[in-house]
Assembly symmetry: C2
Homo-oligomer: 344 residues x 2
């Protein structure tokens, strides 16, 4: 058979720690590689055609020294279909979600990824959801929210939770889980459109942090029993100062530092002593073994019933990955960014 | 009966947030008050003669707005003897340890303090330890180390613990508890004499942070599984950068900020996410109900057997409190500072 193009998004150059990544410079779309889909040796593994790829804020953190290898494809979360298999784990036609190289085709030896990185999961999709949802609320971001909330929140009805970047896939699921548990939800995001979305999810106090200071809102609406942090820096300080005794802080991201050398200072950390606060660093796959089955039994069903809502921004074409990463780092997207790479 | 002097150490003025407290200005020794020991109404309570008072680093934190009331005596931890009692809780001659005003005599209504502040405890001292030990390793600092270690360390044999201010009463007990549990102990303090003491306690790697950088030692001796933090700022950053996955950080103090507005920045907090680190704010009395009995059964006995060691700096006279506070904030003391106020 004639070789088929296997286009890739390569990590070309480490960006300045204090700068945004540049599409075409930091990452490069490359079409030089080909693959013989029928004859490429699988050595007992399987061949996956990439259908969808996720763009997530943490990817900026892999763009520093010791992260993505230079000259190699980016990797992250994707969804694909198995087009050939020599493995007993999967069969042709199966949909798999998990760690993929950002290229059109991947050869995988096993569903199992190296610890503590994500495995691949065969997605049955009994609820017939759009496949892209398995990269959002029913995928890694959803697991992040669900596992973290279950493991660390110790949520009690009537408590106050503050959620930063509440319009993203993680934050928006946290908001909805918190409302289901009977909490008062205070949440912020960076545009009026995002504020409207958070209100539609049931957020009690939704605000635009670009026009209203978190510290002022929390002084009025707190004290905060749970802070779900995606920002770090000033936001974390505001939450610390306005926390209740025995508050729980779930640290899930620190976007304020991602494009400025990861050194956004936190100044109010001394608050945790006298208030007996605990701060949990949340790395989603640490708790995969504990909550994965429960997650897949719960969340896709709730989404299919309309009891849990999401927003998504679907972009078309593998070549769009670099621009999508930049847009997301700047907070200019509305909802979960998913790249449509190919149809089945 | 003629009135007896009831000398006090008053909190006179809030010091500048960026300055050390000044003896004679921040705090003032005052001898104007008297008390009629035989006739002062007790209203069902009891009268305590102060024998010993503790000077502890946290006291600087009470010297800001909303802390110690201006013009009123300091309060903190002390040990006294009951000289009159109308309470069924204590009898004349009992020794009590816990929250006292920094004055020669205290009238108390109950052993129970307002939550979450320390209660008074009747000390039997079956081991016949020096009473001052009940303000050190067998008192609040000892409880801080013991409760915090039991509740939060999840210590496993062979792990690495880093202890800052390892020559103080909390740090030195943490070192000894860690050695008893089979850990490798890395600890620092600010003088060669303190380094010698830490080595005598069995510390595997003891260093003077004024001549050796924590980040360099930890890069070599780590990664750190448990960091017991009394400093914050750079020390916490060094521990975060050199932590293992699933490390535990027990935040027990942040002296680096106490005399500089509590705003010493922490820059490496983003480390906690990818490493699944948890940071526990340790307020000792939060866990009093859980470990108090066990503590009094364990620690005084181990001290009396010489299995747990301590150093102490005993100063004479209530009028020395202000200077002792300053000395301690500057780290110029050697061991637990206790003020001898009176003999029985």
């Amino acid at each position: 058979m004639t070789p088929t193009r296997n286009a890739r998004v390569l990590f070309a150059e480490i960006p300045d720690a204090n700068a945004y990544p540049e599409p075409g410079k930091t990452t490069v779309y490359d079409t030089t590689q080909t693959i013989d889909l029928e004859n490429v040796p699988l050595n007992g593994g399987f061949l996956v055609k990439t259908l969808l790829l996720s763009v997530d804020p943490y990817m900026r953190q892999w763009m520093g020294p010791g992260g993505y290898p230079i000259g190699q494809p980016l990797f992250g979360f994707g969804l694909g279909i198995v087009i050939r298999s020599e493995s007993p784990e999967v069969k042709q036609g199966d949909h798999v979600e998990g760690s993929l190289l950002y290229q059109e085709y991947n050869i995988k030896q096993s569903l199992k990824g190296p610890e503590p990185v994500a495995d691949l999961t065969v997605i049955e999709n009994k609820e017939n959801l759009p496949w892209s949802v398995y990269l959002g609320l029913a995928g890694m971001p959803g697991k992040t929210a669900y596992y973290g909330w279950r493991e660390f929140s110790s949520a009690k009805k009537g408590e106050v939770v503050f959620v930063s970047t509440g319009a993203g896939p993680v934050g928006s699921l946290v908001i909805q889980l918190a409302k289901r548990d009977g909490l008062k939800v205070v949440a912020c995001a960076g545009s009026e459109e995002k504020v409207r979305f958070m209100k539609a999810l049931g957020t009690d106090v939704a605000f635009n942090y670009k026009t209203t200071k978190p510290s002022e809102v929390l002084a009025k609406e707190g004290p905060v029993d749970i802070y779900w942090d995606h920002v770090g820096g000033d936001f974390l300080d505001a939450a610390l100062v306005n926390s209740s005794r025995k508050a729980r802080i779930i640290s899930c991201g620190a976007i304020s530092g991602y494009n400025s050398g990861n050194s956004t200072p936190v100044k109010a950390l001394g608050q945790i002593i006298y208030k007996s606060i605990t701060i949990y660093g949340l790395y989603v796959f640490e708790n995969d073994h504990k909550y994965k089955d429960e997650f897949y039994k719960t969340i896709p069903h709730l989404i299919s019933e309309g009891q849990i809502r999401y927003t998504e921004e679907l972009e078309s074409g593998l070549e769009k990955v670099g621009e999508a990463i930049l847009k997301q780092q700047k907070g200019q997207n509305n909802g979960k960014i998913v790249i449509h790479v190919a149809d089945e």
